[in-house]
Amino acid sequence: MEICTVNEYNAPADHRAIIANIRTSALAAGWTVEEYRAVDKVWDSGVGWASGAHAQERDLASSYTGYNGSFLQLQGSGFGNQGGANRWRLYGFKTDNFYLLPTNRYYNAVSTPNCGPTNVITYGQPTQSGYSATHQYNPTLQDNLLPMAGLTTCQMDCLYRQSTFPTTACIKQWVVCYGTKLIHSIVNIDNIYFEHTLFGVLDLFDQTYSDTTFFQKTACGSYGWISGEMHYSYYLTNGRGILTPYIYANSTSSIHSGGTVGLANYAGLNCSRIFNFPHQAYTNVLTNDYYDNIILQNTWSGKRVIHVPIVSTQLSGLLCPVGRMWYGVLNTENLTPGQILTYGAEQYQVWPVYSTTYPNTYGVAYRIA
């Protein structure tokens, strides 16, 4: 595992503060801030940037009115020529009903606001028909509306739990960066729930590729990390965007989707997936098998095994490892969020992925020294 930097922020007041902290850490790590609207700016397509309550396209439902908006667009470097594609947007705003927090959109379902000709997000995403059929190369510009057929949930919306997001400040936020490759924001909402926002490029096994042949993005929809929802990996090759399976896809504890979105359903595509354990295969789950025992804390030494998830992709009918996550997974039982574990000369900082109590306290670890 590579050594990452971690910034710690106390008591972020709301979604705007969390985005501001991500910006601060991103700048320190070398990311380029292409657009930043700090306070009370939402994007109304009919008006542009606007203060106060406006129709907010980034909402769960378009009829909601958003206010207290905040917007950040970042560009990292990636490997080789990935830099131009390692671009991320975070939308934050509040509605009458709940808070929302950073929304990463790395495909152009609806990609307003327009941040100017030099800050266009162009990932070469396929059109809807292209995606569902030939996934043709079709670089698109922002403001194009390209809903993924039947995959409207694949929008990288990192929704902070409406029911648990406090009306006062959160407890703490950590922002993990690996240079301009990765940003992972972890927010301790209320000492029970934790929210993760993770984006960047993967740690490729072969980082010499410089022609954007290999390009990975991952992101996590927070509270269901292990047990549930929204953790995606994208694998682009030669500019052809391929939407890949959910990684933690259902709500029952399976890491891998066995349902409507999964490897089997995209066997003809260059899809990728994450194995949280090297041995893990399609039907394995993190829970209910012996791998649970690997990541438990040893009762005799107090140590825990930290496993680095492997990312594989399907090429020519074979499932080929292409890279790994920047984090490791472990059981965080009896640990405090943000605690540092020492393994000889190495240090790892750990956080639960969901809460300190559920389920079985699975967590992530970043190497910090």
Binding site: H279, A281, Y282, Y290, I294, Q297, V305
Partner: protein, 314 residues
């Protein structure tokens, strides 16, 4: 170079497999892994330690080393046995968390609890063992200061055993003796047997295993026998080639992970074949298969510790 391959022409005796192994692992005291010490070396004895059921035909040994730290006590035992009328030959395997000079080869039964002695086959039929044959056998030995691994090709099948320490996931003070004796068979199976209880040491049908508390326990072997189901065949690492070398663990639910096998990794690759040699991390790895099984899940790689040399094309 603690790796050797060759051929022996008989099961036991001067040209036998055990003689070949002992001569090699004890023969170069200045080289770690080839500096094992014979704590016991005699004709094979029965469970009372008095009778020599095979006369001078079979041999039993106890070997010790000081571990990777140079301060530990790794003690393992091998015992030849045979029933020629059934054409069954093998080694009983043992390991000793606490070795006492002069004790019987099987004098640690209080620790592991196994005392069954088959008076027909004249061996400890519940001990881990490795079936062999009384004919030409090709072998691969892997040895360092904490463990010995043996792979043997018997006709078309492969036998294997692991004797010694694993890599403990803690400090020596926390886990003083992570010793294990892992066979590929139990009972009186012939080398050609293809039953479920004849399988490799990654999921051994019989074993002795010592815990941090010094107890003989049954761990979970990870990966076990059936935790595999790739939707499509695995392929090489993109842009790099080769396979992922997956660590192999022993864990106990109440204790967590205890150790990983030293120098042994599981690989899943439909293109692998037994006896392949591939390079990873600058070392050559030997591919062994799970007895007679040849699905893509039935291969492991053993680190030969032989450094790869790079040649430049003219």
């Amino acid at each position: 170079m603690p790796y050797k391959t060759g051929t022996v022409t008989s099961f036991a005796g001067a040209n036998g497999l055990l003689a070949e192994l002992v001569a090699w692992v004890t023969g170069t005291p200045a080289t770690p892994g080839l500096d094992w010490i014979l704590e016991q070396d005699s004709n094979t004895k029965n469970n009372t330690g008095l009778t020599e059921p095979f006369g001078a035909l079979c041999r039993q040994v106890v070997l010790s080393n000081t571990g990777l730290s140079g301060t530990e006590s790794v003690v393992v035992g091998i015992r030849e046995w045979q029933l020629t009328t059934s054409a069954v030959y093998g080694w009983d395997l043992n390991c000793y968390p606490a070795w006492v000079d002069g004790q019987l080869w099987n004098g640690n039964s209080t620790w592991h609890g196994q005392t069954t002695y088959d008076a027909t086959y004249n061996h400890f039929s519940t001990y881990p063992n490795i079936p062999l044959m009384n004919a030409s056998m090709t072998y691969w030995f892997f040895s360092n200061a904490q463990r010995i691994i043996v792979v043997v090709r018997t006709s078309t099948s492969y036998q294997c055993c692991y004797l010694g320490y694993g890599d403990r996931l803690g400090a020596p003070t926390e886990y003083p003796c992570p010793v294990m004796a892992l066979g590929c068979s139990v009972g009186n199976l012939a080398h050609s047997d293809q039953s479920a209880t004849h399988r490799w040491f990654l999921n051994p049908p019989a074993f002795f295993f010592n815990t941090p508390a010094g107890e003989a326990r049954t761990p979970l072997w990870i990966p076990g026998a059936s935790y595999w189901s790739f939707p499509v065949n695995p392929g090489p690492v993109v842009g790099v080639g080769g396979d992922l070398l997956n660590p192999c663990y022993a864990a106990i639910a109440t204790l967590g992970t205890l150790l990983t096998f030293d120098g042994v990794r599981h690989v899943v690759d439909p293109d692998l074949q037994a006896e392949d040699i591939f390079t990873a991390n600058g070392k050559k790895w030997f591919v062994a298969q799970n007895n007679h099984r040849i699905t893509m899940y039935d291969f492991m790689a053993i680190n030969t510790e032989v450094t790869t040399t790079t040649t430049t094309a003219a």
